[in-house]
């Protein structure tokens, strides 16, 4: 029988990882929160049948699959335009400090540039650079060879750097 407390104790330490994945898969923060919640609910339902694999990768895989299901579901029904106020809230809600505003704008540009990458590259970068999975773990989650993941990460990173340079944003390591 599923142990509710044990499930939370085991999975909540990975909430930041799941959040970072959801944040880049969902169109806005509110949808990302919904995605994280649905991920945890689905994980809870199948917790009793989970194998001995790593918990973090397991949660990320569920999040990825949940996002795909949601994407397909939305494609099957009439689309509505995203609420622009969701994005404006992020900008207008912050303090009117120039530095913070610039940082916010830069993050928006970064997020947008990441969203413009081809989906396989974006997924690989989200799993490795944002979620912190190793290439081998990401390969298991995606179901692709590790070498394929490494190639996608490399092309995606270079593509991302190029997109940002075109916007005058440069991130040096």
């Amino acid at each position: 029988m599923t142990d509710h407390a044990a499930f939370l104790d085991t999975t909540l330490p990975h909430l930041d990882v799941v959040w970072n994945v959801a944040r880049r898969l969902a169109p806005d923060p509110a949808s990302a929160e919904d995605l994280v919640q649905e991920t945890y609910l689905r994980a809870y339902r199948s917790y009793g049948t989970k194998g001995s694999g790593e918990m973090r990768s397991w949660l990320v895989a569920i999040c990825l699959n949940t996002a795909r299901s949601e994407f397909r579901r939305r494609q099957r029904r009439p689309q509505t335009e995203p609420d622009a106020s969701l994005f404006m809230t992020t900008l207008a809600g912050d303090d009117d400090v120039a530095g913070e505003a610039l940082a916010t704008v830069e993050r928006e540009a970064l997020g947008q540039a990441l969203a413009e990458l081809p989906q396989p590259q974006r997924t690989a970068i989200v799993l490795v650079d944002l979620a912190g999975l190793t290439a081998a773990e990401a390969a298991v989650v995606v179901g692709a060879p590790r070498s394929t993941i490494l190639a996608r990460i490399h092309r995606g990173r270079r593509h991302l750097a190029l997109l940002l340079e075109q916007q005058g944003i440069r991130h040096d390591s």
Binding site: I125, D129, A161, L162
Partner: protein
């Protein structure tokens, strides 16, 4: 070594063994193309990593709360079978008790609380660290709940607002003096529900009359 992007990114990611890393570094000394590729990779990686962020503080409690709602409805064969078996046993015991005139055997059995009320009771029992402002709504059996917490003389009070009235649990007492449809208790936990101007359920480990006074302030 020729241009090998897999080896390059494995090198940047620190996933190469010392021998292979050494071979890549020797190649980089002479190859401008791979050097530029590695620089681009590093910049892209730094940019992507700068997007890492912590989950919103309220999200942890939202998950915990949603799980409480799920707890009562999660499909579990063993649990469902047990519930049916237990229900059948209760029916048999009840019938037997009536016949034998010993109804006190089952007199203390407590029917299940409505899911939204049960979720609030469990959340209050967990003592979750909720913010003072209502977080994102959580759906419990289709009922939307906005949960926050306030402090009354050092005692945490769980406040759940909803888009529809909270159904009274078993043992609830209707209150007729003001806009509070019911009051109940579970152990040391008091529950007070007010339906006007909006449905609000309060839960706290304090006397019910003290909690009702807080509810009255919120409703006014």
């Amino acid at each position: 070594m020729t241009h090998d992007e897999v080896a390059l990114v494995a090198y940047v990611s620190g996933e190469l063994n010392p021998d292979d890393a050494d071979r890549v570094e020797r190649h980089l000394v002479d190859c401008d193309e791979c050097w530029a590729a590695i620089q681009g990779d590093a910049r892209g990686r730094a940019a992507a990593e700068s997007l890492r962020e912590l989950a919103p503080p309220a999200l942890r409690d939202r998950i915990r709360f949603a799980m409480e709602g799920e707890k009562g409805s999660a499909p579990r064969r063993a649990g469902r079978w047990f519930s049916r078996a237990a229900a059948a046993l209760v029916v048999v015991l009840t019938a037997g008790a009536v016949i034998a005139g010993v109804s006190q055997v089952v007199g203390h059995r407590q029917p299940s609380d409505p899911p939204s009320v049960a979720a609030i009771i469990r959340l209050a029992g967990v003592g979750a660290d909720l913010g003072t402002a209502p977080a994102s709504p959580v759906a419990v059996h289709g009922q939307l709940l906005w949960v926050s917490r306030l402090n009354d003389g050092g005692i945490p009070v769980l406040v759940a607002r909803s888009d529809r009235p909270f159904p009274p649990p078993a043992g609830a007492t209707p209150m007729v003096t003001w806009a509070s449809p019911w009051i109940a208790s579970r152990g040391q936990l008091s529950l007070v529900c007010v339906n006007r101007p909006h449905p609000v359920l309060l839960a706290a480990r304090m006397p019910a009359d003290r909690l009702a006074a807080i509810a009255a302030q919120l409703a006014s």
